[in-house]
């Protein structure tokens, strides 16, 4: 199966948008290479603002650019963007309602061997706690391009988690891309697998294996983690035997927590939450680490079977 580095799609879509709308600017922290902004810089050298290695300034400057009518796409490695500049994200962007698109590059454990300083497994929990910020987690190239277009036009602050770990295309041509709209990737009645980002294709693979074993698994993808599709979650809780969530992020406060808070208040059902437990990852490449934490088709199958009592 062909796999894609979504950063290329992100950058291509941003350049295409910038050609149509001169308000679009890119703001980065010495991250032209890692954010794949070389093409943007070549075509729009003045519209690429590189503040250097200074993330607080990075986000504040973007809020100022937005104040003066620009649409800044802040492109920085997700751990430093969200960790170092979280207060700027809260005060200058979200609370000030500045139309800034915060693009967390290479999120999750994309930096593998570089270790926990470079992993961004906390970003989803952190940004979900900030009021007024849309949180978008594309699963493939199609969603990445749609996310760039949507965020540029929204007029609202958003956090866009740009995948680096290569993923196959999963989004059907007619899939919706909007707040509160889940993408149904596979129908099923026995159990529901809800996955975002890099775990989406792994959930699909798990559903196929479960299907081969006679278990009918529904697969839902939530490109908008915030605001998410509450009704699709409630329907899954009501119509299937339980829900397994899977994300390349800490289990403290991300997708699993968001789904669980809906399930327990609206339609309690058995759940399993797959993500990184509250530990710092050991040394290893991304694929190794995902498997290590059970964030694999095997891990999802095992969680579903255990939930259904087939364990």
């Amino acid at each position: 199966m062909t796999e894609f580095d979504c950063r290329k799609d992100f950058a291509a879509e941003l350049v295409a948008l910038a050609r149509q709308d001169e308000r679009i600017v890119a703001v980065c922290n010495d991250s032209v290479g890692s954010s794949n902004l070389g093409g943007f810089r070549e075509e729009f050298p003045r519209r690429l603002v590189n503040v250097g290695i200074a993330e607080q300034d990075l986000v504040g400057v973007a809020a100022g650019l937005a104040n003066a009518g620009k649409i800044p796409f802040v492109c920085a490695a997700a751990p430093f963007l969200t960790g170092r500049a979280l207060e700027q994200i809260k005060a200058d962007v979200a609370y000030s309602e500045a139309h800034v698109v915060l693009c967390g590059q290479s999120p999750g454990m994309a930096y593998g061997e570089l270790g926990p300083t470079h992993h961004s497994i906390e970003d989803l929990s952190w940004v979900r706690a900030v009021a007024g910020l849309d949180v978008i987690v594309p699963a493939d190239p199609v969603q990445t391009r749609a996310a760039v277009r949507w965020a540029a036009a929204s007029g609202r602050p958003s956090y866009l988690r740009v995948p680096r770990f290569k993923v196959p295309a999963v989004t059907p041509a007619d899939a919706p891309f909007a707040p509160r709209r889940a993408v149904l990737l596979r129908s099923g009645d026995d159990v529901t697998l809800i996955a975002i980002g890099s775990l989406t294709s792994r959930a699909l693979e798990a559903a196929e294996r479960l299907g081969a074993a006679g278990v009918s698994a529904r697969v839902l993808n939530l490109p908008f983690l915030d605001p998410l599709d509450e009704e699709a979650v409630v329907a899954a809780a009501r119509e299937t035997g339980g829900i397994v969530t899977a994300e390349e992020a800490t289990i403290s406060g991300g997708l699993g927590a968001a789904v669980a808070s809906i399930v327990v208040t609206r339609h309690p059902c058995p759940m399993r939450i797959l993500g990184v437990p509250r530990v710092f990852a050991p040394t290893g490449d991304t694929r190794f680490l995902l498997d290590h934490f059970g964030l694999s088709a095997d891990g999802i199958v095992a969680a579903a079977r255990e939930l259904l009592g087939h364990g």
């Binding site: 104040n67 009518g69 700027q88 005060a91 707040p179």
Partner: protein, 308 residues
């Protein structure tokens, strides 16, 4: 007032405060007198407005039972000089694209900012009576979605300067003539984010950006120099590539001159030497008046001093 759902999020029902057209007219007339009149007449007008703003601040903090009175009084002359002597803003059209941008980075001095903005007619002076009251638009730190004339939500220190730098960068990108002024606390300069912005602004030659430091030498707990030393402060700014101007921060005309545009291509840092608690003798240069609330007798004494 109950909140309403907008885009999936609950926000307060308050919209931006409406302008005060009569106040704005009075402001425009005063500005004309100041900018076209003799230096002496300008200084007299600016001193008069500053006195009024300081009196409002004392009344607001008295009513609310809370506030940062020391810094409010040290920054007042800077605020009044900016809005009455320098900035090109229209209080009845606070979102005009070509307006000058003013950012109060030391957002805890919101009372002085609100009082100044109300005197300019950005909103009605009567609104000042709601300062810190439940559901008031006038929060302890300024909110741009509720208070016209506020460009970004400050309060956490070290935030306004990078945002102002972004504003000035946008003006440079557009070849626009409007300028940006950011007012910083001196203690606030201990936040590293300021120095990130200082580097960015100098690197880009943002000569339309002016940073004014309210150098009252006191922070919440002690003197700045006894906490984490700032001196030599001018040399620091110069080292970061800024043109530095050192002035008496209570001399309106000196402030005005210091904030004039530079022809060096560098951003300008104005170190405005001020006195915390300025104008009220028993508050001046005393650390405890950072956010102490005056008693009824002290309010009376303060207002009497500020009437002179």
């Amino acid at each position: 007032m109950s909140g309403q759902a907008v885009g999936g999020h609950t926000v307060s029902g308050h919209a931006l405060l409406p302008a005060d057209p009569a106040g704005a007219r009075e402001y425009r007339e005063t500005v004309e007198r100041i900018r076209a009149g003799s230096p002496q007449a300008a200084a007299d007008e600016l001193r008069r407005v500053s006195r009024e703003v300081r009196r409002s601040v004392v009344e607001m903090i008295d009513r609310a039972g809370m506030g940062h009175i020391g810094g409010d009084l040290s920054v007042t002359d800077i605020l009044v000089t900016c809005f009455y002597g320098l900035l090109d803003v229209d209080p009845t059209r606070p979102k005009l694209p070509g307006r000058d941008r003013f950012v109060l980075s030391k957002g805890h001095c919101a009372a002085a900012l609100y009082s100044t903005l109300a005197h300019c007619g950005f909103f009605h002076r009567a609104e000042l009576a709601t300062f810190l009251a439940p559901l008031s638009a006038l929060n302890g730190h300024p909110n741009r979605m509720k208070v016209p004339g506020v460009e970004t939500n400050t309060g956490a220190l070290g935030h306004g300067f990078p945002v102002a730098t972004g504003c000035a960068l946008a003006a440079q990108l557009d070849g626009a003539a409007w300028r940006t002024v950011v007012v910083l606390g001196d203690g606030e300069l201990q936040e590293g984010s300021n120095w990130e912005a200082a580097m960015t602004a100098a690197h880009h030659g943002l000569s339309s950006l002016t940073a004014v430091v309210d150098r009252n030498r006191l922070q919440q707990g002690a003197r700045t120099e006894d906490t984490t030393r700032l001196e030599p402060l001018g040399a620091k700014w110069e080292g970061f590539g800024w043109e530095v101007r050192d002035v008496d921060g209570h001399d309106h005309l000196a402030l005005l001159e210091a904030m004039s545009r530079s022809d060096t291509g560098k951003p300008v840092a104005v170190i405005a030497n001020t006195v915390k608690g300025k104008g009220v003798s028993f508050m001046e240069d005393r650390v405890e008046w950072h956010h102490k609330v005056p008693s009824a007798e002290q309010v009376e004494a303060a207002l009497a001093e500020l009437a002179r």
